[in-house]
């Protein structure tokens, strides 16, 4: 008996054993129940694992097509088939992960319906029509992906435009699917009140309520004093019944920030997983050609991840702001109370991402002759990044990590000077400077091995240096002013200014640099494949960090509701109605991360296996033809 068959039989026996072990629990209660326990691991853990794995796979299959279609377009326009092949390879990875995503989605729905029937009944009562729409979109996405992937070779040449259109359509379906499902979970977080009377339906019921309460009113007088900012409850205070329209439920406070944050996050995550895949292939590659190909693929994946990573902190900030706007208590829980230490972990992880991304860029300059001139700036850039990461991860309150004598020496839980780093204005300043430094690393990478021929090259360099210097000074000054102004002004004016300064620098410098290096002479080409193994492990580390970070932030987003299924509307009365400890959450996220990489590894391995078999049969056929020729 072959080893593979033995493993298969053992696997089947194990699955059968698990099914038999848990089956009696499912047979217990078929009456109308509020909750049903999931055997062994509990309902919340079961839903948590299924939801997070589904989300990770979903993020991958939604993120990858976004840049695959752009890379395909670049290949089409430049007539460079390497791009086309790489885009196709990306989509092949996507195809492997697609069915697993759907499978995990199914598992999640079964768990939710079984374990939380009342919650699901409530949600489907409100969101029923969107669930039907979701199914339609899912069919659309599935068939478009099949057409896009299987039609790749057939639709080359004059049909390429149509193929690209399919790619765009695939992204439209994917994005719409995510937006729809985001409305359900964001409603659970921020459902209770809305600013303004948003819909005609709610306006009518609002008038009816007021008229019923006070018969002396007319429909006109009932609306007196009601402005576009009047807070209108969308739920009956006693029964929790939803009184708004479907659009009111969908367009809740956190829906759009979650949508945009996830959209960009998917790009970054997809890029990082592709880069990790390429890194693995690079490490096991036997030929120089393979090494060169996967080095290039890893670079592209990391570049895409970096493009997604740069705006993510700003988008996360926007989401945080909306959470505060929706409910201040929830905001304080998030940043100053129950979940505040989670954000220190988040800072550590984002620090790893930025340090890793910069490391990879600097290591990449080793494969370009002529890049040595930029090496002297590296220690300064590392110093800046590390100082900024240190500021970002410095906690505001040190009571949990200090002894009583240390607290007494500090004169309290806040360090009088380092404690200032714990405030958002310092952290925002730090993150903007990290982003600018990362952009500078990329600029050096882009310039490596090239000499500008533009007559104004020197002036251009002075201008670019001045822009960087002035922008950094502005960001720091705005940050310092942020300590002294009211929070409303800081959040709504100063922080967006800092972001705008960083974005403006990146836009202006990119344009100037493109013109400066348009007709640059090249002193050395990129030696693809000439990368250290260490740099490839960094790519894998980045993917692991992204995955863990997503898991951790998922815990924060969901945990913020505390003991509510729908915040302020439907209470969680199950045995799991407590917020798990951060340590417990971290363990769970680690388990999910390992499971995700095991599944992804298996799917990619299957792809490789098929590829090897195909290659082996092609080689055998070629050998047979050669042998016949020899005869």
């Amino acid at each position: 008996m072959s080893k593979k068959r033995l493993y298969l039989i053992l696997g089947c026996v194990l699955v059968a054993y698990v099914l038999l072990a848990i089956a009696p629990v499912f047979a217990q209660d078929l009456t109308e129940a509020e909750y049903r326990p999931f055997p062994k691991i509990g309902s919340r853990n079961a839903a948590w694992i299924a939801a997070q794995l589904h989300l990770l796979f979903g993020s991958f299959i939604l993120g990858v097509p976004m840049f695959a279609v752009i890379i395909e377009f670049i290949g089409w326009k430049t007539k460079d088939m390497r791009y086309d092949r790489m885009a196709q390879e990306f989509i092949k990875l996507c195809m492997g992960a697609f069915s697993t995503t759907a499978l995990l989605g199914g598992v999640l729905v079964f768990i939710l319906i079984w374990c939380y029937p009342k919650v699901m009944s409530k949600l489907s009562g409100i969101f029923g029509p969107t669930m039907i729409f979701y199914v339609i979109l899912f069919f659309g996405e599935t068939f478009t992906l099949y057409l896009y992937s299987y039609g790749w070779d057939k639709m080359q040449g004059r049909h390429k435009g149509w193929h690209l259109f399919l790619g765009v359509l695939l992204n439209v379906f994917g994005t719409a699917i995510m937006f729809v499902s985001n409305s359900w979970l964001s409603y659970q977080t921020s459902p209770a009140t809305q600013y303004g009377i948003l819909s005609e339906g709610r306006r009518k019921s609002w008038i009816e309520e007021k008229l019923a309460a006070d018969p002396s009113l007319t429909p006109e007088t009932a609306m007196e004093g009601v402005t576009s900012h009047t807070m209108v409850p969308l739920h009956n205070e006693t029964t929790g019944e939803f009184m708004g329209t479907l659009w009111d439920a969908v367009n809740n406070f956190t829906w759009m920030p979650v949508n945009i944050h996830r959209l960009v996050g998917n790009i970054a995550f997809g890029g990082s997983i592709v880069a990790a895949y390429a890194a693995f292939r690079f490490l096991v590659a036997k030929t120089k050609e393979d090494k060169a190909h996967y080095d290039w693929m890893g670079y592209t994946g990391n570049f895409i991840a970096l493009c997604g990573l740069i705006p993510l902190p700003f988008l996360g900030y926007w989401l945080g702001r909306e959470i505060y706007m929706f409910n201040n208590t929830m905001g304080i829980n998030m940043m100053g109370s129950l979940f505040s230490w989670l954000f220190i972990l988040q800072a550590v992880m984002i620090g790893v991402l930025f340090i890793g991304a910069n490391y990879y860029l600097w290591a990449g300059m080793g494969r370009i002759s002529g890049a040595e001139i930029y090496a002297r700036y590296r220690p300064y850039m590392i110093t800046i990044i590390v100082i900024c990461v240190a500021i970002w991860m410095t906690p505001r309150t040190l009571s949990k990590i200090s002894s009583a004598s240390e607290l007494s020496a500090m004169g309290g839980a806040n360090h009088p000077h380092l404690g200032l780093f714990g405030l958002m204005t310092a952290k925002n300043t730090a993150v903007n400077i990290i982003i600018l430094t990362t952009f500078l690393s990329f600029l050096f990478y882009r310039r490596s091995g090239k000499t500008p021929t533009a007559s104004w090259g020197k002036v251009g360099n002075i201008a670019i240096s001045s822009i960087f210097f002035l922008a950094t000074v502005s960001i720091v000054v705005i940050g310092i002013v942020g300590f002294t102004v009211p929070t409303d002004l800081r959040v709504n004016v100063l922080t967006p200014y800092q972001v705008l300064v960083a974005l403006a620098v990146m836009a202006v410098v990119t344009v100037v640099d493109i013109f400066m290096y348009r007709k640059a002479t090249t002193s050395g080409t990129i030696q693809w494949g000439e990368m250290t193994d260490r740099s490839q492990y960094v790519l894998i580390l980045i993917a692991i960090t992204f995955t863990s970070l997503m898991g951790l932030m998922g815990y924060a987003r969901s945990g913020l509701r505390e003991a509510w299924h729908i915040f302020g509307v439907m209470q969680d009365t199950s045995a799991d109605a407590f917020t798990p400890l951060l340590s417990e959450a971290v363990n769970m996220v680690a388990v999910i991360m390992v499971a995700f990489f095991a599944l992804v590894g298996f799917i990619f391995w299957l792809g490789l296996w098929g590829e090897k078999k195909k290659q082996a049969s092609t080689d055998a056929a070629e050998a047979a033809i050669t042998a016949e020729g020899d005869d």
Binding site: Y195, G196, M231, F253, M325, N327, N328, T329, I332, N333, G336, S337, L338, S340, G351, I355, A363, G366, A375, R378, P379, I382, T383, V386, V389, A390, M393, T394, P395, R396, T397, L398, S399, K400, I401, S402, S403, A404, E406, L407, M410, G411, G412, A413, N414, H415, P416, H417, L418, G419, L423, F483, T484, P486, T487, D488, R490, N492, T532, T579
Partner: protein, 258 residues
């Protein structure tokens, strides 16, 4: 003069950074930094050094050369023996520092800020949702400066009659009782206190005191009395006006959403 090896330079940077954090920033410039924070910073500095030396193969080889020599080169026999003694000694000392019994009590595991309830109450009366309630006298700041001044003055009276014993003459948490309290009273002069919370939050903290703090994030160990037993609603709102007027910090407000 012989040029220092890369490894030695890195070691000097590492030790120098620790000395700066421990004695310059945490001594000459400011108060001592907790060991855990120094460890966190030192971890980052080690990462920075490793990043720098491992980016290029040639640099990495140069960095590892003394390590390699110490381990395999017979000319470095003495150094090898010294390292062979130092490493276990270091581990021994480190282990001892972790497991040794100390006289000092552990730090407080409390959360940074307590999580407020969804509804603001005064005794048993519901004032409104924590999100929406505003200081009823705040609008006088623009509409009637004289009335506003009177409320601030009343707040000042309330503060110096009741609060200054702990929170200090200058609202900096350095009152007479402060050295004997753990956790120490809030320092309103800190830019991270008043601007980060709405006035409803301060009302809740003052009204409910230490015993009214939530079950989550405990132990709070706050010595703050339940002031709703002693002060009227208006007095609490007035003292909040005084806190922001004296320090110059505005409590948090929220602009228009959507």
């Amino acid at each position: 003069m012989k040029r220092l090896s890369l490894f030695t330079t890195c070691l000097i940077i590492l030790v120098g950074s620790w000395l700066v954090l421990r004695f310059v920033i945490g001594g000459v410039i400011s108060v001592p930094i907790p060991g855990s924070v120094i460890a966190m910073y030192m971890g980052l500095i080690i990462i920075a050094i490793l990043v720098h030396v491992s980016v290029e193969d040639s640099l990495f080889r140069e960095f590892l050369r003394p390590v390699r020599e110490t381990l395999v080169d017979d000319r470095r026999r003495v150094r090898r023996r010294v390292v062979a003694v130092l490493i276990p000694l270091f581990l021994l000392g480190y282990t001892y520092s972790i497991i040794a019994q100390r006289a000092s009590p552990p730090g407080s595991p409390r959360d940074a800020h307590p999580s407020p309830p969804l509804e603001l109450t005064y005794k048993d009366e519901v004032i409104g949702s924590m999100q929406d309630v505003v200081n009823p006298f705040r609008h006088y700041e623009k509409d009637d400066p004289e009335a506003f001044k009177a409320h601030v003055e009343n707040g000042r009276r309330v503060y110096y009659q009741n609060c200054f014993y702990c929170h200090g003459d200058h609202l900096d948490g350095q009152g007479h009782f402060a050295p004997y309290l753990q956790p120490i009273p809030a320092n309103f002069q800190d830019p991270g206190i008043i601007p980060n919370f709405q006035e409803s939050f301060f009302f809740w903290r003052i009204a409910k005191g230490g015993p009214g703090l939530p079950a989550a994030g405990t132990p709070w160990d706050s010595a703050m009395p339940i002031w709703e037993d002693y002060l009227t609603k208006d007095e609490i709102w007035d003292v909040i006006l005084f806190l922001s007027d004296y320090t110059g910090y505005q409590p948090r407000t929220f602009g228009e959403a959507h």
